[in-house]
Structure formats: structure tokens, C-alpha cells
Amino acid sequence: MNYRIDDRGYYGDFGGAYIPEMLYPNIEELRNEYLKIIAQPDFQEEFKSLLKDYVGRPSPLFLAKRLSEKYGAQIYLKREDLNHTGAHKINNTIGQIILAEKLGKKRIIAETGAGQHGVATATVCALKGLECVIYMGEVDIQRQAPNVARMKMMGAKVVPATSGSKTLKDATNEAMRDWINNPVDTHYIIGSVVGPHPYPEMVSLFQSIISEETKKQLIEHTGNDQPDYVLACVGGGSNAMGMFYHFLDDENVKLIGAEAAGLGVNSGHSAATSVLGKEGVLHGSRTILMQTEDGQVTEPYSISAGLDYPGIGPQHAHLHKVKRVEYVSITDDEAMQASLELSKLEGIIPAIESAHALAQLKKMTFKKEDVVVICLSGRGDKDLDTFMKYFNL
């Protein structure tokens, strides 16, 4: 089975570039150039050196002993939460900012939901001295004030998206509209494995450092680069694609993606796209998305803003359809309890997004020797407000 992209820009039935003609030259330029630029030695040198000295990679692979004891398996955490800016998002923005520079772009735009990708983009723009405009839903701007402040401190302009539901999907629309109106000097740094081809492939390439390191680290820890299970949370799905990337062809490694069920898959307040979605087109690619019978995109819900997206990346849609990855649904409550559990057992406060992957442990049965890797995609600092309210701290 082929899990990778084909030369038309599709993963099986999913992907492609469903974009208005105005975006065609930009997308075409990227499609023609990105692999060439990434393969250049000076790109690789700068990418690796920034990941090491600026981001702090490799991120540790940590054997969580007390958690392992509780669930009767060997549980390793891939510590993306220890990256500069607190999540995996920066792996992608570092890659794209170097690419943008090599394409001669002077201005960077990005969308953000919870603000993590916005912060990661503002960060690399400050690092490179490039103009930075971040689109963020008006509703999210109010919910995520500290991240808005971070972006502003680093010199980014934060523009409220006031259309539609005023959240992540609308911020993405606004960023695309900006790009349509500024086609020559601007690069759009998409934050997840979504959007028109080649974005999903490019973002997963930059995130694939997660599984590349994990394999090496597993050999050091266990002598075998193939674990029994790999788990990651899925909103658009960028940390999951990075975590799965180098395991896709290891068919004996079970891959599990945890989606946000919100208040429950059938509650009407959920973001469990693989269960609730149907095939269609969202933000430039053919994928699975939550929508009405008439094809209007519906508003997802999750307590974690980073999983609050009505679609999944096209490669996830493919991996779901061919059953290479098992997608599971985790409710708000399950994720919140898992956050508390990791905090108490290991002294690590996870992002609520990442806690969705942790929460799946409770639903599985392990053999003692099973090796389990969980992508701890981000840290929980940004979620303190939510934790305080939820647990009455």
C-alpha cells in the first residue's frame, strides 16, 4: 500500500489544489521549488543548525516510568513540549521561513487558532527580520490573550478575522484572501498539514524530524527502532503526521490518532472529523470535513483550541480510508483527566491537545513489554486558565 503523495499531488483520493486561479502562480512556484530548495545543502545546514541551537532539538524521548507502571507498558514521551515556544509548531515555521527567504519573499502571513502557530510564526519572523501578519479569529483573540501579547511583543501584527464564525477556519480564509490580494511578495506559512498541495506534504516533511529522531532514540533506549504503538493527537494533524511519518511503512507499528470528541461525538459539540466528516473540499484540498448536507462547513467544538478544526489533512483522510491509522475520539473530560494524571505522575503539564493522545492509554490493553511512543506535542502553560476553571484550582 502506498501512503505517500503521488505526482499529481494526491494521497489516494485526497489532496490536490482546489484553489482560485489567483493563487495558482504562488502554489505553482512552491510546488516547483520546495523540494529543490529543501534539498540544497545550504538549506539543510541552516535548517539543522536552527533546529539545534534555536529550537533546542533533538527533543528528548523520555521513558515515563510511573505512567508506564500504571498502564503496564513501556511508555515513552516525545518531548515536543520542550521546544522553543512550547510546541512542535516551530519545526514547520523554521523550515518555511528559510524557504520563504530563498523564494525572495518579504512579507509573511499565517493563520492561528489557539495562537501557538501564530507565536511560532512571529518568532521566526523576528529571527529573520521579516514583516509578519497573523490572522486570528476575533473569538480566539479574546480567548487567548497571552499568545496575542506574545505575537505583538515579537513585532507581529495580529489581524482579527471577523467573518463567519470568527475562529480558526475563518482566520485561514482571511489569510488566503490576503495572499490572493498580495500574490507577489508574500509567503503564507500554513500551520498544519492542510491546504492546497504542496502544503500538506511540505509541512509533514518539516515535522518528520519528530519521527526521525524518535527512531534513533528508540534504538538507544530499546535496541529496536520499531515500537508497538505510536500515538498522537489530530486537529489538522501536523504533529501526528510528523510523529507517524517514518513509521508509515513499518506495518507492524500500530499508529493511533486521537481526535477531539468535545462534549461527545454525537453531542453536536465535537471536532471528531473522521467520524462526523464527509469527503469534500476545504481550504484548498480534497479531504474529510464536517459539513451540512448542503456542503456548508460546520463549526467544530473542542475544549482545546488547537484541535478545534472542521477538517483533517488530506494524508490523514487517506490513512483513515485505507485503515493504516486508527482514529479514536477523546472527550474534553477524558483529556482533562489525562492532563491532570500526567502532571501528578510525571511532573509534566501537557497541552490539552496532547492530553487527547494520553487519554487513549486508558482504553487500551498492553503487554508489559509493549513499547508505546506518545507525541507530547506541546506544554500546558497556555492552558492554565482552562485548567484553573475546570479543576477549581
Binding site: 482546489y18 502562480p25 484548498g284 448542503d294 456548508q296 462547513v297
Partner: protein, 257 residues
């Protein structure tokens, strides 16, 4: 031969097309607006079917889509309304909207339904050339629907030729790379671009759209192309006035003046 081709054979310049969103400002407005436009002298019509995430559109058309969805407009409702289209309207009519609602309806079903009610063509800005050619072309052709492609100042000559080859109605020439509702690009470079396309001697007529809002911009567009499309300015007028139908003759007269 469909009505669009007949129009272009008869009329070579100053062709005026008007875009409006179905179900806006009220659900029952669609055919009433179409009738008023024909009576007022529009040459052909583009009826928008609304989408929740219209990323090529500026705020005015976004809002009209949003209101239309709230009003209950769906493709199913629209095709129901358009059953009376050809007993009332004789000028060419195109449907315009985004790929996702059309895909949910089923592209083949969509094309059949469009043909049945007497629609002449379709504009789907986010349906790419490649997918159209590979997956959907046969549905369009067997239902005698013209599929209209967009061309921008950044579109290469090679791609314009390809678009010309696949087109069978007209080519929708964008006045600039922009979302709908921006002012018309009046730089010198834009004249060069229009002339460049004009001098390619394409088989399809050229209609300029995006940024055409008044008599001046309509006239300028007609120096280079066979006609022009007014969208945002018209939708704005519909939204401004309580008696939206009464404004239509005056709106068209001003553009034609």
C-alpha cells in the same frame, strides 16, 4: 447552441453581466431579481449559490452568502426555485459558487439539474483545470454547460491557451489578483495585460470582472474586452435598500449611461 453562444454571436461589445447571490436579501428574491435585471437591460446573469467559506470573495459577497445560508438557501432550494427560470427569463444564466456544495450535491446531478432548469454555464473559482479535465468535463459537456475559467494578470500565456482550449463560453478576465469588491486596477500595467490577452486572438470572448462598479469602470473594461461583470456593487445595492427591486433599473441605467 446554448444561449451564451448566441449572445456572443449577436453582441460583440458592451456586454453587461450582473452577479447576485441566490436567496439574498430574502429567500424568495432569486427570480424576482433576475426578472428585473433582464427587463433593465442586463445581457446575462450569474446567480451565486452560497458557501460558508467563500475565500475568493470580499466582505460584501461574503455577507450576502452568509445571509442567504441563514435564509435557508441550498442548492436543492435553488434548483426548485429555478424550475420557473425559463418561463420568465430568456437571457443566458450561469451559476457561480464553490466546489464543496457542488461536490456534496454530486457534480453529475448538479450538471443535470442545471441543464433541466435551463442554466447555460457554471463558474466555480476553486475547481482547478486539472480536476475539471480529469473528473468532471464529461458531465459539463453532456449537459451542454459552459464551464468558465478565470485568468489573472499573473496567468502565463501557456496556461491562458490551455484555458482557452478547455473553455466553451467566455474567459473571465480578472482586473487584478484580488478578492471580489476591490477597486478596479487602473494602472498602466493593467492595460498591457488586457492588450496582451486580447492580442492572443483566443477563440473565446473576454469578459472582465472584479472591480467593475460603475459607468467609468464598465467603459474602461469595454475598451479591452467584449464586456464586463458587476457583482459586489450590485449586491451592496440590494443590501442597502428596503425595496431592493425598485433600485435595479436605475442601477443598470447608471452603468450603461
Amino acid at each position: 447552441m446554448n444561449r451564451l453562444k448566441q449572445l456572443f454571436e449577436k453582441k460583440k461589445n458592451n456586454i453587461l453581466s450582473i452577479y447576485f447571490t441566490a436567496g439574498y436579501p430574502e429567500i424568495g428574491a432569486t427570480l424576482k431579481i433576475a426578472e428585473a435585471l433582464e427587463k433593465s437591460g442586463a445581457d446575462f446573469l450569474e446567480i451565486g449559490f452560497p458557501y460558508s467559506d467563500p475565500l475568493a470573495d470580499g466582505p460584501v459577497i461574503q455577507k450576502s452568502s452568509h445571509v442567504a445560508i441563514e435564509n435557508g438557501m441550498t442548492l436543492k432550494v435553488l434548483f426548485e426555485q429555478l424550475k420557473d427560470l425559463r418561463s420568465k427569463i430568456s437571457i443566458p444564466v450561469l451559476l457561480m459558487g464553490y466546489a464543496n456544495p457542488m461536490i456534496q450535491f454530486g457534480v453529475s446531478n448538479f450538471c443535470k439539474a442545471a441543464k433541466e432548469v435551463g442554466v447555460d454555464g457554471v463558474i466555480v473559482p476553486d475547481l482547478p483545470l486539472y480536476e475539471y479535465e480529469e473528473l468532471y468535463k464529461d458531465d459539463f459537456i453532456s449537459n451542454r454547460l459552459s464551464n468558465i475559467f478565470l485568468v489573472t494578470p499573473q496567468t502565463s500565456e501557456e496556461r491562458i491557451r490551455k484555458i482557452d482550449e478547455l473553455s466553451n463560453g467566455f474567459i473571465y478576465l480578472l482586473s487584478s489578483s484580488s478578492t471580489t469588491g476591490k477597486d478596479l486596477n487602473t494602472s498602466d500595467a493593467i492595460g498591457d495585460y488586457y492588450n496582451r490577452v486580447k492580442n492572443m486572438n483566443l477563440k473565446n470572448p473576454l469578459i472582465i470582472g472584479f472591480g467593475i462598479s460603475d459607468q467609468k469602470s464598465f467603459e474602461r473594461a469595454n475598451q479591452y474586452a467584449n464586456g464586463a461583470i458587476v457583482g459586489t456593487a450590485f449586491v451592496k445595492t440590494l443590501g442597502n435598500e428596503n425595496d431592493y427591486l425598485a433600485q435595479i433599473p436605475e442601477f443598470i441605467r447608471k452603468i450603461r449611461a
